[in-house]
């Protein structure tokens, strides 16, 4: 080896050196490049990479919900898809028009016009239903996309529709509670960063930006859906019966001042705003001014008693039903000559009341009316509230004073009237009405003692006679319940004086001695009859009965003595008149019974008695098949709770 290699130069070291140099240069260049990229261009490249792999995402919350006092949902938002198009991206206009008009049920001409638009973005249809959105997603039209929005749903339809109000298509409250609490219920939005993969799919990156609650806050009303429903039903029945133009029913809880129901007829369904008229959307109890008529009389009596102008037994000359004051003749429906003051209220004598008013004087009476809240808004917090009409006392003529005494020549809203009667029911101390439980309202008014307790007790006792003696409110009487009430039949002002249309009203306070419930009914322009005792009092009675029954406060449930000492089974054997026959419970038989055609609930009741939880197959409410079949022995091992198909029911 040494021989063979003699004379040749050993270049191996050089070669190794060269290779090392080559590698050093190559690695060095790589290091240098890496250093350059990392250190010099690093920030810029990081930014570029971040743009490729990250994307901003926006999440919109849902609008706050509206609940009644018991948590029953009155308004909520449901996610719905909306379809929009980018007309310049559309490839086949004819196909797109056909698909969109067919799936969204809009005219082809309309779609064509939208897709031919030069705009970059056009709405095709907003807030479509699930079926339509699935069809559009399936069609996969280029340039046509779906986006999520929230649409407002009112599950109870027209129940308290005017009070709740409505929102526009962009979710902004336009009327009622929706408008007043728009800022509170308005949803927020969260912006956060997500990661994007090579195909553009978005991935979860981190929790940053998601911590905030984007949903709007809820609102809870004092309304009770059951009482509201009772009020609306009773009002609708009366309006249909007497062919009236409109009506209002208000139910107020005296202890708390909470409005339990505020029904307005004609009804308004906020789910179908576009099909409604402005007259339906108006919350008449708050926005409309009426001359209340005789329902104002209790306030005059309270003022006169407080000022010691009258005592309940003071005799008043009622002029046999006709009396001229300031050139105008006042008439009574029940003519009498001498009546004690309490009977003036009981028979609703206009002449007697006018005389008390004149004795009291305009200034004093005006003061009382102002203290009761007439002539100014109640600040209940709803839009469009009226302050009513109450002239300054300096402008009252003797005719005005006489008329205002019996409720003509003064304009009030139903809510003002409710507030004033709430004062009478609350021992003469003013109290604010509440419509919203959450958020708690901030009110600037302080409680004022307008009448003494003795005065309010006397007035309530006189109003009790209106219902329980031979007064005008007999038709509102409820057996076993003491009610203080007052009817009202006010002539409505027309061009140049009073016309032939009336406002029939009735106010009820239950129980009369220490009222817990206040019910006000107003029926506007009834045609077939116009007396408050005929038109409005039965509505008040119906609403009061249903409210008391709902609260378990009808006489039967209040009186412990009349409790029947029998079992429920015995009660079934002795049904009351008009009660519906109780469905007879099926007895468990020795063998499997025929369950076909039975409602699934009844079949389940029967099987559960045997300790069997069946497997349900199919959809529906009626049993169409069973295993084991009828007549077979009961399955022995029933402890497996259907997991092993011990008993199967097919539904249809």
């Amino acid at each position: 080896m040494a021989k063979g290699s003699q004379g040749r130069k050993d270049l191996s070291k050089v070669k190794i050196g060269l290779v090392m140099i080559l590698f050093t240069v190559a690695l060095g260049s790589l290091w240098a490049r890496a250093g350059w990229v990392q250190l010099h261009e690093g920030t810029a490249l990081l930014l570029q990479a971040s743009k490729q792999s990250h994307a901003a995402e926006v999440e919109f919350g849902e609008r706050g919900r509206i609940f009644d006092r018991n948590g029953q949902m009155l308004a909520t938002s449901v996610e719905a898809k909306s379809v929009y198009a980018r007309p310049f991206e559309i490839e086949n206009l004819d196909v797109a028009c056909d698909v969109l008009s067919r799936d969204l049920k809009i005219s082809r001409r309309k779609v064509y016009k939208k897709l031919k638009s030069k705009k970059k973005f056009v709405w095709i249809k907003r807030q479509i239903n699930d079926r339509e959105s699935t069809a559009i997603a399936k069609a996969g039209l280029k340039g046509v996309r779906l986006v999520s929005e929230f649409s407002r749903i009112y599950p109870n339809g027209h129940l308290a529709g005017q009070t709740i109000g409505f929102v526009n298509i962009d979710g902004r409250g336009l009327e009622g509670i929706e408008r007043v609490y728009n800022e509170r219920m308005k949803p927020g939005k969260a912006e956060y960063v997500v990661q994007r993969d090579a195909r553009g799919s978005r991935l979860y990156l981190d929790a940053q930006g998601r911590e905030m609650d984007v949903n709007g806050l809820d609102v809870r009303l004092t309304i009770d859906t059951h009482i509201q429903h009772a009020a609306e039903q009773a009002l609708a029945t009366s309006i249909a019966k007497y062919d009236a133009k409109a009506g209002i029913v208000m139910v107020v809880d005296v202890d708390s001042g909470d409005i339990l129901a505020m029904a307005n007829q004609p009804f308004f369904n906020p789910n179908a705003v576009s099909r409604s008229k402005a007259s339906q959307r108006r919350l008449r109890a708050v926005t409309d001014v009426y001359e209340p008529g005789s329902t104002m009389k209790p306030f005059l009596f309270a003022a006169a008693l407080e000022e010691k102008i009258i005592e309940p037994d003071t005799l008043i000359d009622c002029e046999n039903g006709r009396w001229k004051v300031g050139g105008k003749t006042i008439r009574d429906t029940h003519p009498s000559r001498w009546l004690p003051a309490h009977k003036v209220l009981r028979y609703s004598s206009n002449i007697g009341t006018a005389k008390i008013g004149i004795d009291l004087g305009a200034g004093v009476y005006h003061d009382y009316l102002t203290k009761l809240g007439f002539g100014e808004k109640t600040h209940i917090g709803l839009p469009g509230e009226t302050g009513g009409i109450l002239m300054p006392p300096g402008k009252w003529t003797s005719v005005d004073l006489a008329a205002i005494s019996f409720g003509q020549g003064i304009g009030t809203s139903a809510i003002q009237l409710a507030k004033a009667f709430l004062c009478l029911a609350n021992d003469g101390v003013t109290k604010e009405l509440n419509l919203v439980k959450l958020p708690a309202a901030e009110r600037k008014h302080a409680a004022v003692q307008v009448f003494s307790r003795k005065t309010t007790d006397t007035v309530l006792s006189m109003m009790r006679d209106v219902v329980h003696e031979d007064g005008t409110g007999r038709s509102a009487r409820i057996a076993g319940i003491s009610m203080a009430g007052k009817t009202g039949t006010a002539q409505k002002a027309a061009k140049g004086g009073y016309g032939d249309q009336y406002l029939s009203s009735f106010v009820a306070l239950v129980p009369a001695e220490d009222p817990e419930l206040l019910v006000i009914t107003m029926v506007d322009e009834p045609q077939k009859a116009n007396y408050g005792s005929m038109v409005a009092a039965p509505v008040c009675r119906e609403v009061t009965v249903r409210t008391l029954a709902y609260h378990g406060k009808l006489s039967e449930t209040l009186d412990q003595v009349i409790a029947e000492n029998v079992t429920v089974d015995d009660l079934v054997e002795q049904p009351l008149a008009g009660s519906v026959a109780t469905p007879k419970a099926r007895k468990v038989t020795q063998r499997v019974p025929d369950l076909k055609k039975l409602p699934v609930r009844r079949a389940l009741e029967l099987l559960v008695k045997k300790g069997i939880v069946p497997v349900l197959k199919g959809q529906g409410m009626t049993v169409s098949g069973q295993k084991p079949a009828a007549g077979q022995a009961w399955p022995e091992d029933t402890n497996k709770e259907g997991a092993d198909n011990v008993f199967i029911l097919w539904l249809s």
């Binding site: 599950p155 109870n156 990661q195 979860y204 039903q233 009808l554 009351l576």
Partner: protein, 94 residues
Amino acid sequence: MSQVDKTLLWMILTLLGAALTMGLGAVWLNIERMDVAYDLRKMEKSLGQKEDLAVKLTVERNNLVSPYHLKRLASRQGLQVAAPGQIRRIADTR
């Protein structure tokens, strides 16, 4: 090779091994993170859909128990609101 050199060699080898392990660990973690991110996204979507469905079902439930609907159903069965005289108070016989 001196004892010091040996120790140095072992330290270098250990450090290289640790770097390699950590590098591989980082890659594995990244893959896992991506998997979790995909899963989270899927779950977020599914949660969103379920929440939407829950809201729709709540609306439906409220619709079904609304007083108007209940009244319709009750009147079909011949039931109505109890009037005075139709309510019985049962004594507690337990």
